[in-house]
Structure formats: structure tokens, C-alpha cells
């Protein structure tokens, strides 16, 4: 067994009040460094849920078990891919899921690096991307959800950390 997984059995890490801010910060840093873009924090009215036809997910295992997902519109996903690649004009559609997956991967890595007890005791899965026009994300395991909504070129990017209890 990977030591990072073996050692966490006694050191389960639970979310606290700072995690939403850390998730917000981790996401903004990734966009600033990799896309040279400043995201804005969006206040979400109660009852609003994450929407968008592109979702990237990364699993977390070890001291924290759960899924970190980033959901946005296909237009935003294309914009992200274009900025990452420094493209002028249209982006190769085949590169869009790859780009959004990498962003999700980096956000997850950057987020866990900010939590000392998590950094060395939690592993990330290879990312997965879902695309489609009408789907709902449902977390089966009960646990906390931390949701951050950020603005990018007038559209919303939803970042959700679903923690398994």
C-alpha cells in the first residue's frame, strides 16, 4: 500500500471554516499562473446550484476522501483551453477536456498543498471529464460539500469539494 494512504488511517482530516477560502484561493492562483487571468468571487443566491455542460473531477483518497469537481459551460471550457495554450482563435475541440481536466488536477493539488495535514497524506486520482447538456451531479456518500463560485469572462465556474464522511 502506498505510504501516503497507509499512514492516514489515524489522521483523517475534516473540513473547517477556512476551507472555502482556501479553495477559492487555490483556484484563483491556478488561473492566474496558468492562464494569466484573474477570477472574481461570485456571491451565489441561496438555492442556486452548479450548472454547465462540462465537468472535470479528481478523486481524493487518504486522509481526505472525496471528489473535487469544476463545472462550467462549454464556452468557458474552450476559453480556458485557449488561454492555457496561448491560442489565437479557435481551439482544437479535442484539447478542451484535456485542458479542463488539468486545471481541475492543479486546483486539487494546490488546494491540498495549502493544508499541512493533507499535503502528504492524500493522493489524487487521474482526472475524469463529463460533457453533456442535461445532467445532475449527485454525491452518494453523505458528507460536507464546499462550493465556490467564480466569475470568468461574465460566466460562472463552479468549484465543488464533496467530502465523504
Amino acid at each position: 500500500m502506498n505510504p501516503a494512504l497507509a499512514s492516514n488511517i489515524q489522521t483523517q482530516v475534516r473540513p473547517d471554516a477556512t476551507w472555502a477560502t482556501l479553495l477559492d484561493c487555490a483556484t484563483k492562483e491556478v488561473f492566474q499562473i496558468m492562464l494569466q487571468t484573474d477570477l472574481t468571487t461570485v456571491s451565489v443566491p441561496e438555492g442556486d446550484v452548479a450548472t454547465g455542460d462540462t465537468t472535470a473531477m479528481v478523486g481524493l483518497a487518504g486522509a481526505l476522501c472525496g471528489v473535487l469537481s469544476i463545472r462550467c459551460s462549454s464556452r468557458t471550457a474552450e476559453s480556458i483551453a485557449g488561454r492555457m495554450l496561448g491560442s489565437v482563435g479557435a481551439v482544437d475541440p479535442s484539447e478542451v477536456p484535456d485542458a479542463i481536466a488539468e486545471i481541475c488536477n492543479m486546483v486539487a493539488g494546490n488546494f491540498k498543498a495549502k493544508i499541512t495535514r493533507l499535503a502528504d497524506h492524500c493522493l489524487l486520482s487521474v482526472p475524469t471529464v463529463i460533457r453533456g447538456e442535461d445532467y445532475e451531479m449527485v454525491t452518494i456518500a453523505d458528507g460536507e460539500q464546499i462550493v465556490v463560485c467564480l466569475g470568468h469572462e461574465g460566466e460562472r465556474i463552479w468549484v465543488c469539494l464533496a467530502v465523504h464522511s
Binding site: 484539447e95 486539487a108 493539488g109 492524500c122
Partner: protein
């Protein structure tokens, strides 16, 4: 002057392009740049020709960067090829493992071209 032949190993084709672009943006003179999508592909590339520098992700399907590095060091012609890990892993144990096996350093994603230059330049200087 010989320009370095570089291998970039990452399961994301977007990230491979970004790493290559960052190397060039950092002002590093590169020769041929070869890309591989995982450790197994990278080992085939190494057996087909020597590299002066390898940048490898850790978390990849089929063969991860740690196993790639382990198998790379068993190839006589690649024992001393400098390898820098480029990873989202904040896990110190994974990075230490890579350094113990023989990685020359690591760069954590997200990164800037300057961070790439800082880590890679000394390794290319040694080559010259």
C-alpha cells in the same frame, strides 16, 4: 554548440505543450523535443535515442513517473540523464521517493516559465 534533446512525459497533451512552450519562453535553447503520454511510452522513446533532459509528471495511467524513473535508471545509457519531476503532487513522500531514485529536482504545477528556467537551466549548463 549542441542543443539539448528533451523528453516531456505527461498524460495531458495540453500540459506537454505548455511545458515545451514554457521552456522556450524561458529563453532556453532546445534541440528536438519529444513527447510521451506515460512512463511506458517514455521508456520506448529513451531506447530509441538518448536525451539530455527529461521532464516527467508523476501521476499518470499505465506507468507513473516514479516507476518510469526506476526503470530508466536501470538502462545503462540513461543512468545519468537528468530528470525533473513536474507534478501537482504536494505529497512530500512521493517527491522524496522520486529524488531518492535519482530525480534531479521537481517543479510543482501550476508553474511559471521562470520557475522552469530556474530548475532546468543548471542541468543544461552542466551539459555544455
Amino acid at each position: 554548440m549542441k542543443t539539448p534533446r528533451v523528453l516531456i512525459v505527461d498524460d495531458s497533451s495540453v500540459m506537454r505543450k505548455i511545458i515545451e512552450r514554457s521552456l522556450r519562453q524561458a529563453g532556453l535553447e532546445l534541440g528536438e523535443v519529444v513527447q510521451a503520454g506515460n512512463g511506458a511510452e517514455a521508456l520506448i522513446a529513451v531506447q530509441e535515442g538518448a536525451f539530455d533532459l527529461i521532464l516527467s509528471d508523476i501521476n499518470m495511467p499505465l506507468m507513473d513517473g516514479i516507476e518510469f524513473l526506476r526503470q530508466l535508471r536501470a538502462i545503462d545509457s540513461a543512468k545519468s540523464t537528468p530528470v525533473v519531476m513536474v507534478t501537482t503532487e504536494g505529497s512530500e513522500s512521493r517527491v522524496v521517493e522520486a529524488l531518492t531514485i535519482g530525480a534531479k529536482g521537481y517543479i510543482r504545477k501550476p508553474f511559471t516559465p521562470e520557475q522552469i528556467k530556474e530548475r532546468v537551466s543548471p542541468l543544461l549548463e552542466v551539459m555544455r
